[in-house]
Symmetry: C2
Subunit: 373 residues, 2 copies
């Protein structure tokens, strides 16, 4: 086995598989969230693609999946190599601090010096070698005591992603490209995004974190002692018969907060965060415009067609059609269109309006039409 | 009963209920043609609207419907007052000369001096009084031996209709507005249509004919003796036990030809045709743009929604949605859109492309996908 194909010593992958993906309604639903769909045409779900990308890095027996109880069966069907000790079920969603923090707390209890890497279940990366190089540097930085994130070198002034503002380079053994983080920046407007891409000092925030589990938990505890206390109580009981009772008591009481606020931003502010520039393709497939772009390979003249047994008859039309109903779909003279055809709901919009899809979901919630959410 | 509500003496209505309406696919189908749909939001099918418009003119016992065998049950369900002697079933479609000609031939056998008026089953007219005035003048012209058509005063330079080029006025008792016909003109381009509307000498060809049945048949026989011979043979046997056998023998042999070529144009050329200008609203509802226009009442900012139990959630969208599936339909930021949602087929196009819908039907035929036609 060549060096690059061997697993990374001491490394454990964590996949938080949560979030519905509201901007991908009516494809993504409460009972069929984004990570359970094949949005790339790979023939596999995004979750399975994520697993396949991580298994060579940590070994398939060292991938922990944190997901909702409702998705257990679907997740296990997708990941036949996933073992029971690596399944962490949430009785209700508590956002990323609790999800990743619980995985860290369980793993550090089992293996005190474990280095974990957390990777969303529903992002797209095809350059596996580029991804591996970045993870290896991230693990090296983690070993040196840092919390590492992977930032993606922007290929365009995207307004749908957050950015990482880089500071100067650091000298970390095994992480030659690691740089300090100046700050995290929210999704910018187009002019700002263009400036970011031009200055070369900004990377896309891919939401990937690599750290010693104990370091990550210490940072989390500094920001939110109550959360750390709860996670520690859960982890202590996890591999014992008391797990169920403690989960029922503690989990509902945990605060709902993104790991950006409990770990990433405080660590950046105190100089503990480093970013590894990732020179690989990456997309969070956040909306239908992103799906259209992924499939068109940059060509505006294409119509992307997704869905098993899709029957599409298109004339002078571009954009994306997602067929889940088996019905014949006919398009005539519609450009940059988005058509999502499911058995109980149909969406027609344009790629330019893709970010507004969430507002429909919000409207449906307000009007009590949960049957299609 | 006031004079205007009494029926027109000697008058018999004929409704040829044929034609699928390919430009309205996937709403209109072989088994659910245009005339069996409610396209106006009246709560009734176009066929029933047509019946209701004609019943006061001829009496409901004097309306003959010519339709395909396959549509008999649906037609009778729509028209409970339709009596057996007024049902003429085609074993296969033979175009309007045979359909209207057979009705004329049957009726003239029963009632030698009958005046018939033929009106499509799937056109929209809401100004019943204006329509009645035109029909009454048409009947007067028919009584004087003319073949009368009703031409619609154009309200815009439509390119989807044929036009009638008017000649000078005639002096016909009871038909003060009747004018001679110079010629029939095919669907024009926009510049020509604008000229037509400006010159005031052109009317839309509404395809409505009023004539003594014997006069109409004589004209038809002049143009196509073989067709008249077949129709006469059918009519002679019609009200006898030989009907079935004669239909089986004769009908399949009849030529397929539009009444425009066998009656209207030859009659115009020989001075036997007159046109009554109709100052009422009229639309042949030929495509989805026409439906959108009918519903929007001229406002471009509207989204027309058709379909029982339609569930539509629209944001910044205009055009027309036709829902036959019961699914939730969500539109975001699509303008002049046409969405037709049926249980087995979905169409997404724009009003500007409405005339191109027929090309999809043609493509489906060619590719053998008759299941959705």
């Amino acid at each position: 086995m060549s060096r690059s194909a061997a697993s990374v010593p001491g490394f454990y992958s964590v996949i938080p598989a949560g979030g519905i993906g509201s901007r991908l309604w009516p494809l993504s639903r409460a009972d069929a969230p984004k990570f359970l769909h094949d949005l790339t045409g790979s023939g596999q779900t995004l979750l399975r693609d994520t697993w396949d990308r991580l298994a060579p890095l940590s070994g398939s027996d060292r991938i922990m999946v944190v997901t909702g109880r409702a998705h257990r069966a679907a997740v296990e069907a997708q990941l036949p190599d996933l073992t029971d000790p690596n399944v962490v079920l949430e009785s209700e969603p508590k956002d990323s601090s609790a999800a990743i923090g619980l995985a860290a707390a369980i793993l550090v209890t089992r293996e005190p010096d474990v280095i974990i890497g957390s990777f969303a279940a529903d992002h797209v990366i095809t350059d596996v070698r580029g991804f591996r190089r970045a993870v290896e540097e991230g693990v090296a930085a983690a070993r040196a005591g840092y919390i590492a994130t992977i930032g993606i070198t922007p290929t365009e002034p995207a307004i749908g992603f957050g950015y990482i503002h880089c500071a100067g380079p650091l000298a970390i053994d095994g992480a030659p490209h690691a740089v300090a983080v100046e700050s995290f920046v929210e999704k910018p407007d187009l002019a700002t995004a263009e400036k970011y891409v031009a200055d070369g000092n900004h990377l896309w925030n891919g939401g990937m974190f690599i750290a010693r589990a104990d370091v990550l938990l210490a940072q989390l505890g500094e920001s939110n002692p109550r959360l750390l206390e709860g996670l520690t109580e859960l982890a202590t009981a996890w591999d014992t018969p008391r797990r169920g009772a403690v989960v029922d008591k503690v989990w509902p009481s945990l605060p709902k907060i993104a790991i950006d606020y409990t770990v990433a931003e405080p660590a950046a502010a105190s100089g503990k965060l480093v970013v590894i520039p990732g020179d690989f393709d990456w997309d969070d497939v956040g909306d239908f415009a992103s799906i259209a772009k992924l499939h068109a390979g940059g060509r505006k003249s294409d119509l992307a067609i997704l869905g098993e047994n899709a029957r599409v008859l298109a004339d002078s039309s571009t954009g994306v059609v997602i067929s889940q109903s088996g019905r014949l779909i006919s398009l005539i003279g519609v450009t940059d269109i988005v058509v999502v055809d499911t058995p109980d709901a149909l969406l027609v919009t344009t790629t330019a309006n893709a970010q507004r899809v969430k507002s429909v979901v919000d409207a449906l919630k307000v009007s009590g039409r949960d049957d299609v959410l």
